[in-house]
Symmetry: C2
Subunit: 376 residues, 2 copies
C-alpha cells in the first residue's frame, strides 16, 4: 500500500503502512501480529508513535501541516520532516554512537522511521527531573557536539560544499521562521501565544518586554540566527540543565553544574583535537597562513571564546522563552504549586537576563558556573 | 543568428551577434553600418566592448571561463555573468539613478549588454587619479549604498524572501571563492600570484605574512564573508579613495578625506531614514518589540557602529590585497618610479593594518579620518 498523498496516521493506518513498507517491516522481522503502538509525542510539533513487536521496534515520527501544541490555526509546512531527516542522517554519519539511526523516510507522508531506544532508556529531561546522575553524560554530549559542529563548519568544509549545504537548508525557512518568532520575538512583545505562571510572574514578563538592553542583545542574536550559517545544528538538543527543582537537592545541583562545566570543557578539548587533526582541510584557516603554534593558539582561543559567548546568548534566549513564551518545559511545568514554580522560574529568568546581557564578560565556563551559584 | 553554445566574441562576431539580437540592435535604432567597437576591459576578469553607433550605444561585457589577468591556467566559471546580471538588475530596481541599465543577458554566451555612459563620463578611479573634485560624489555614492544595502537586508526583507535570495546566490560560489583566496588568503601567505613593488616592499610583504594579530582579525572577516548573508553587494564598488598620489596635492587629499567622511555620514543618515520610513517591514526589528524611541536609537546606533567596524575591516583587507596580492590598482600602478610608489604603498599598508587590527576602537568616521591624517 503506497500513500500517494499525505494523510495523518492513526494506529490502524500505521499498521497498514508498516506492512507495505519493507524497510520498516523488516525491522520487526516481519512479525506484525503482536505489535503494540503508543502515541507519545510530548513535543510541540509532531506525532510520535512507538512501535514494539516481539522481534524488533522503532519510532515513527510524523509531521502534520500545523503546530501540534497550538492546533490547526497555526499552519506549518510538513516539509520540516525532510530537513529533520537530512540533518539526522548527516549527524548520524558524523556521530553514529549518539544519534538514532533513520530506517525510513517518506516525503509525501512527512514520516520518519527511526531507532527506538528501548527501556531502561528514558528522555534525558525526565532523568534530570528525577535527579538521576549520568556518569557518561558530559562525555557523550561533548562527543556529539564536537563532531557534528566541527565537521559541518568551514574549519572542515570547503566553501563549495558549505554553500551547497546552506542553499539546501534555506528551504527549511518555515521552521526557522517559527524559531525566530517563538524564541527571538514573541517573549519580548505582547503575543497571544505567550504564557507564564500568572499572576506571580506578570511583572517579570512585563519587565522582559520593557528591557531595552535585553532587546538590544536579542536583536544581535536574531540577526546571527537568520544570517549566519556556521554549522548544521539539530535545533532541538536541550536538557534545560540550568533549571532546578523546588526541593532542596544541593548535591544534584552541584552535579548538574559539574556536568555543564565538564560538557563544555570536554567539548572544547575534543573540538580542538579535531581541528588539530584536520588542519589541512577546510577553507576557514589555511595552514599556510595559520602556520605557527602561537597563532594557532590565538585563533583557537578566540574561536572558542566567541562560541562560548554565542552559546550563552542563545542558551539564555531559550531559557527566557521557556518561561514567558509559548512552549514551556516539563522541568518547570512539573512543579504543581504555582507560587513555588514562579520562584524557580524567576530565578532562572534573572540568570538568563544576566547571561544574555553580560555574556561577553565571561572568559570561560567556570566563570559562568560561579555566576549561577551566586544567583542561587 | 543564435549561438547554441558559448564562444568568445571578437569585433566581427560581435556585430553578427548584435544584428541577431533585437534588444541590442534596437538600442542602435538598427543603424548597424557605422559602428565603432573598442575592447576596453581593464578589469581582471572579463572582456568589455564599447559599441557606439550614430543612433545609440551600449557596453557588452563577456565573461570567459578563466580569469583574464592570469589566463587560462586559472579557470573560473562564466556563470558569474548570470549572478552579476541578477545583482545589477536588483540594484538597478532599487537605485535606478546610479546603476547602469541592463538591456540584454545571454546565459549561454555569458554576455551582458548594458548602458554605456558616454563621455565626458570616465571611470571614477581615473578621475580621482587625475585630481578631479566631484561635488555630488558623496551624495550619489551614499544614495547607492543606502538603498541597495537597506532594501536587501533583513531590516526590510522578511526571512522567507531573504533565504530564497541567499539560496540563489549560493550558486555564485566560484566567484566568492576567488574573493576568499585573493582577498582573505593569498596576501597572508606565500602565493605564486602575489606581487608587490620589489625589492622596496619585500620586508613589508613579509611582515604582513608574519603578523599574527593581523591574521587573527582577517580570519574573523573571512568567516563573516563566507558565512553571513547580510545584504546583496556588488563586490566591485571601490574607488581606492584612501590611496594617494606621489605629488603634493594637499587640497585634493583634504577633499578626498572630506568625501570619505561625507559619504559615510550621508549613508548613515539615508540608511536610518529608510529604516524609520519602513519600520513595519522586515523581520529583523519588529515594531512591537523595538517600540520606543530610546530603544530604536540604541539598535540603530549599534547597527551603524557594527557596520562601520565591518566596513573598516573589509576596506582595509582590500587595501592590503591591492598592494601585496595578485591584482593591483591603477592608483598606485600609475606611479612609474618604483621607489616613490613603494613609499605611498607602504604608508597605505600601515594604515590598512592599523584600521584592520584596531577597527573596533573607532566610534565614528571622524576618528577614522583623524587616524588617516596622523599617518600621513
Amino acid at each position: 500500500m503506497a500513500f500517494s498523498e499525505f494523510r495523518p496516521l492513526d494506529d490502524k493506518a500505521l499498521i497498514d503502512y508498516i506492512k507495505a513498507t519493507p524497510s520498516l517491516s523488516s525491522k520487526l522481522k516481519n512479525h506484525l501480529d503482536d505489535l503494540t503502538i503508543k502515541e507519545v509525542g510530548d513535543g510541540n510539533l509532531n506525532f510520535v508513535f512507538i512501535v514494539v513487536g516481539s522481534h524488533g521496534s522503532f519510532v515513527i515520527k510524523q509531521a502534520l501541516p500545523y503546530i501540534r501544541c497550538i492546533g490547526e490555526s497555526w499552519p506549518m509546512t510538513k516539509e520540516r520532516a525532510y530537513f529533520e531527516t537530512v540533518a539526522l542522517r548527516e549527524h548520524g554519519r558524523l556521530c553514529p554512537d549518539h544519534v538514532p539511526e533513520v530506517y525510513h523516510f517518506d516525503r509525501t507522508m512527512s514520516l520518519i522511521g527511526m531507532r527506538y531506544l528501548e527501556p531502561p532508556h528514558i528522555i534525558l529531561r525526565k532523568g534530570l527531573i528525577a535527579g538521576i546522575e549520568y556518569p557518561l553524560l558530559a562525555d557523550h554530549m561533548s562527543d556529539y557536539m564536537a563532531k557534528t559542529l566541527f565537521y559541518t563548519s568551514l574549519i572542515y568544509h570547503n566553501t563549495t560544499d558549505h554553500k551547497k549545504a546552506v542553499a539546501e537548508f534555506c528551504g527549511n525557512v518555515e521552521l526557522c521562521r517559527l524559531t525566530e518568532q517563538v524564541v527571538f520575538s514573541d517573549p519580548y512583545k505582547v503575543s497571544e501565544y505567550n504564557r507564564w505562571t500568572s499572576p506571580y510572574l506578570d511583572s517579570d514578563a512585563e519587565a522582559v518586554r520593557e528591557d531595552n538592553a535585553l532587546k538590544l542583545e536579542v536583536a544581535e542574536l536574531k540577526s546571527l540566527f537568520c544570517e549566519r550559517a556556521q554549522a548544521l545544528i539539530h535545533g532541538d538538543l536541550h536538557t534545560d540543565g540550568h533549571a532546578d527543582e523546588q526541593n532542596d537537592r544541593n548535591a544534584y545541583k552541584a552535579w548538574i553544574l559539574r556536568i555543564i562545566q565538564n560538557t563544555w570543557n570536554l567539548f572544547h578539548r575534543k573540538f580542538i583535537a579535531l581541528w588539530d587533526a584536520n588542519k589541512d582541510t577546510g577553507d576557514a584557516y589555511l595552514p599556510a597562513i595559520y602556520n605557527n603554534s602561537e597563532l594557532q593558539q590565538l585563533v583557537q582561543d578566540k574561536f572558542i571564546k566567541d562560541l562560548l559567548h554565542d552559546t550563552l546568548g542563545f542558551g539564555a534566549a531559550k531559557m527566557i522563552r521557556r518561561i514567558v513564551g509559548v512552549a514551556h518545559v516539563e522541568d518547570f511545568e512539573s512543579i504543581t504549586d504555582a507560587s513555588k514554580r514562579a520562584v524557580c522560574e524567576r530565578r532562572a529568568l534573572e540568570l538568563a537576563k544576566l547571561l544574555l546581557k553580560e555574556r561577553r564578560k565571561f572568559q570561560n565556563i567556570g566563570e559562568v558556573v560561579l555566576a549561577v551559584q551566586q544567583i542561587q
